[in-house]
């Protein structure tokens, strides 16, 4: 498995949840993973039901089998100040820069600089080593910006190298690009089996490929069990209403045909959804990217659900 796992996806597809589950799944036997977020939304803290994450790597979960998940909310401004401190020993001058709006300028307005700082910090964590020489983190999982912006976000080289043609930011961009375009990195796209997210996924993959960024997997999220198919529903909606009502009564469910009607409506809705999902799955298959499949969590994505998804990912080969 690549050491940097970037998770993107259309809004509402559950990319933060998938990223967290992936970090858990990769933290097998004694391994250590770092889960990073880059958009300042504190989604990880909310998911793990802890207080807001500071700009500091801290342990957030223990995986079954003794692995550890650390989390970090990368803040572009802090990353820049750290960076200036590290290379220029700026200290208090950093504050002066901030006062003048220069830090603001560099982190929010100067195109691409923010992205270089965010991806740069993640790449630093990927490369970091302990005193004994081993990597600090076995894997770094990034909860990245959504599909519509992911290629632009990762492709900092084009963005920045064109503008900052020399200097440390330029060099930083080059170094980051080397990691991002190598097999060390895999970019996963989370989707639902619905038309819009699938379309965005297809577009996103095309963009990633055009930018020569390594496409990892499509993660099909919130897959519902197919309890009934179209044929069963068609059979049911015919002349079996009375028989169904009797069968219901035989297990103590009163309500008669008045109950059968809404149950059948729900079933035909379900069957229609199954059909739509089948069509979307065909679209995904045509893209030719391997996929993971994660079940729909009826109770929502809480911590228990997260562990369940991690288990599911391991079953499908993550961390093996």
């Amino acid at each position: 498995m690549s050491r940097l796992q970037v998770v993107s996806g259309k809004g509402g597809t559950g990319k933060t949840t998938v990223a967290a589950a992936l970090a858990l799944a990769l933290a097998t036997e004694g391994k250590r993973t770092l889960l990073v977020e880059v958009e300042g939304r504190q989604g990880i803290a909310q998911l793990f039901e802890t207080e807001a994450l500071p700009y500091e790597e801290r342990k957030i979960a223990v995986a079954p089998g003794g692995g550890e998940v650390y989390a970090l909310a990368i803040d572009a401004e802090r990353a820049l100040l750290d960076y200036l401190q590290m290379f220029y020993k700026l200290g208090t001058a950093g504050r002066a820069l901030k006062k003048l709006g220069a830090i603001d300028f560099a982190t929010t307005i100067a195109p691409g600089v923010r992205d270089v700082l965010l991806t740069g910090k993640a790449c630093e964590a990927v490369r970091r080593r302990e005193k004994h020489g081993g990597h600090t983190y076995d894997h770094v999982v990034m909860d990245a910006p959504p599909t519509g912006r992911i290629t632009r976000f990762l492709n900092v080289n084009d963005e920045v190298a064109g503008l900052a043609r020399i200097g440390p930011i330029h060099n930083q961009a080059q170094a980051v690009m080397r990691v991002l375009k190598s097999p060390e990195t895999a970019v996963h796209l989370v989707t639902l089996l619905e038309e819009m997210p699938v379309q965005e996924t297809a577009d996103g993959i095309a963009e990633l490929r055009a930018a020569e960024l390594p496409v990892g997997r499509v993660v099909v999220n919130m897959v519902r069990p197919h309890v009934l198919d179209e044929a069963a529903v068609r059979a049911a909606s015919g002349d079996h209403r009375d028989a169904i009502a009797r069968t219901l009564a035989s297990v103590g469910v009163a309500g008669g045909t008045a109950l059968v009607e809404p149950l059948l409506d729900q079933a035909s809705e379900h069957a229609r959804r199954v059909e739509l999902e089948r069509a979307q799955r065909a679209v995904l298959d045509a893209i030719g990217v391997p996929s993971y499949e994660l079940p729909f969590l009826g109770d929502g994505a809480d911590i228990a659900g997260l562990y369940r998804l991690a288990k599911e990912l391991r079953k499908q080969g993550v961390g093996a």
């Binding site: 603001d104 923010r114 038309e195 729900q266």
Partner: protein, 446 residues
């Protein structure tokens, strides 16, 4: 806030958001749809536009980044930054719908072209820093969306503008970005950057403090000298336009606070989406921007809600066991009265602890004959199918319960916010008929 007992649904007390009076009110000039990504903002905006037009308004819908099929459904699959009339709008009151997709770079270019003489405009448009800024800066889209909104409003060709907000990092970005860009473009920092170009040479040093020279020095080192030069050239070329940016950003901001504006916060009954919605509600209140209410998309319902998930699941398992053990076995409610609570828990226990001694079936002539009538295979099919229906229902009820919990959390925080629910559709929207159907659902009330 009143305490609610666990049995009552929180939403019972919530005011219902009635959208028809809002879109019919000629005083409503702007409707802004905002919310987290993926909650159906654009679809909601488009559906409202269609409905308002068919009720007689002259409407323009400004979408930011619509899904392809949705854009096609309104006939705006080309990105030309101009409102296009949407064909197929029904209604006898002379209503019209126009729709457009925002092209942020084009909008930015147009501002430059409109406010600078040709030579200067060309210099700006060709500047590498400008090109990056206009195509890429994380706030440009937000800024340009607000700019376009101001332009559309100023043209006064439409009596209602429905605007969708960009898919931002945070749903709040579009309120902040214009200010951020505005304050950058005529802020302290840019003036300092410009100072050397303006004053030139040593003379400038008089009012340039140490921080300044260190700053340009550092930035130069960090970003490379060429980059800084590009910025300086850009800034010098834009000089005359700065005041304009700030003024317009302020004007748009005021427009959003005006009485003719209504914000709709869009969400789905998911934790994250409703959390963003809550932030938004608070932020709008802080900015004194008029909130009309919350549109809750993709809400699941059931016409069989009286049958609980537990009971449906237990009955399904009972059916499965019955099929394996004994076709005729099963617990029948012979009295015909609805199942009582003790019976319910019996079923639940039975379901979790097989094998279960089934209640001996007592003779019931009516049912015996009915079962006899059916083919043996048919009977198995029906049992299988019924078990499936029950399972599906149990799953549905579980989703309902979760959605209710999430909504209750929001309601507890903001009981004053009016809500309209939009039932979940099995598929995506592809055409005007689909948008019309959404419009019906939006305004169906509860």
């Amino acid at each position: 806030m009143t305490e609610k007992s666990p049995e009552t649904h929180g939403l019972d007390a919530v005011p219902v958001l009635d959208l028809d009076p809002l879109i019919d009110d000629l005083g409503t000039r702007i409707i802004v749809c905002c919310g987290a990504g993926g909650v159906g903002k654009t679809t909601t905006a488009a559906a409202l536009g269609v409905r308002a037009a068919e009720r007689g308004r002259r409407v323009v819908v400004l979408t930011i980044d619509p899904a392809r099929r949705l854009a096609q459904s309104m006939g705006i699959d080309s990105l030309d930054n101009t409102p296009r009339k949407v064909d197929g709008i029904k209604g006898s009151d002379g209503g019209e719908l126009h729709a457009m997709m925002l092209d942020m770079k084009r909008t930015f270019d147009e501002i430059v072209e409109a406010h600078a003489e040709p030579d200067r405009a060309r210099a700006i448009l060709e500047n590498p820093f400008y090109q990056s800024l206009s195509a890429g800066f994380a706030g440009t889209q937000e800024y340009m969306a607000m700019e376009k909104l101001g332009q559309l409003r100023a043209r006064d060709e439409w009596d209602l503008i429905v605007v969708d907000t960009p898919p931002s990092r945070s749903a709040l970005d579009f309120l902040d970005a214009p200010k951020r860009l505005g304050s950058f473009l005529d802020g302290k920092f840019i003036k300092l950057l410009m100072a050397p170009a303006k004053v030139g040479g040593r003379a400038g040093m008089k009012f340039l403090n140490v921080g300044m020279s260190m700053m340009t020095g550092t930035l130069g080192k960090l970003l490379g000298g060429q980059f800084l030069k590009d910025v300086q050239t850009f800034v010098a070329a834009m000089d005359t336009m700065f005041g304009g940016f700030r003024t317009r950003a302020d004007a748009t901001y005021k427009l959003l606070q005006a009485p003719g504006t209504a914000f709709l916060v869009v969400a789905t009954p998911e934790r994250d989406a409703l959390r963003e919605a809550a932030y938004f509600v608070e932020r709008l209140a802080a900015e004194e921007m008029p909130l009309a209410g919350l549109v809750l998309n993709r809400v699941h319902g059931s016409a069989a809600a009286l049958l609980s998930a537990e009971r449906a699941r237990a009955a399904a398992e009972n059916l499965d066991e019955g099929r394996i053990v004994d076709q005729g076995a099963g617990k029948t409610d012979r009295s015909g009265s609805p199942a009582t609570e003790p019976e319910l828990s019996d079923l639940a226990t039975a379901a979790t602890a097989p094998p279960v001694p089934q209640a001996a079936p007592t003779a019931d002539p009516a049912q015996e004959s009915a079962v006899d009538d059916a083919e043996h295979g048919d009977d198995t099919d029906v049992r299988h199918l019924t078990a499936g229906l029950l399972r599906l229902h149990a799953e549905r009820m579980r989703v309902l319960a979760r959605e209710q919990r999430t909504r209750d959390r929001f309601t507890a925080l903001h009981p004053e916010v009016a809500v309209t629910e939009v039932a979940a559709l099995p598929g995506d929207v592809h055409d005007l008929a689909g948008l019309r159907a959404i419009g019906d659902r939006l305004t169906a009330g509860r």
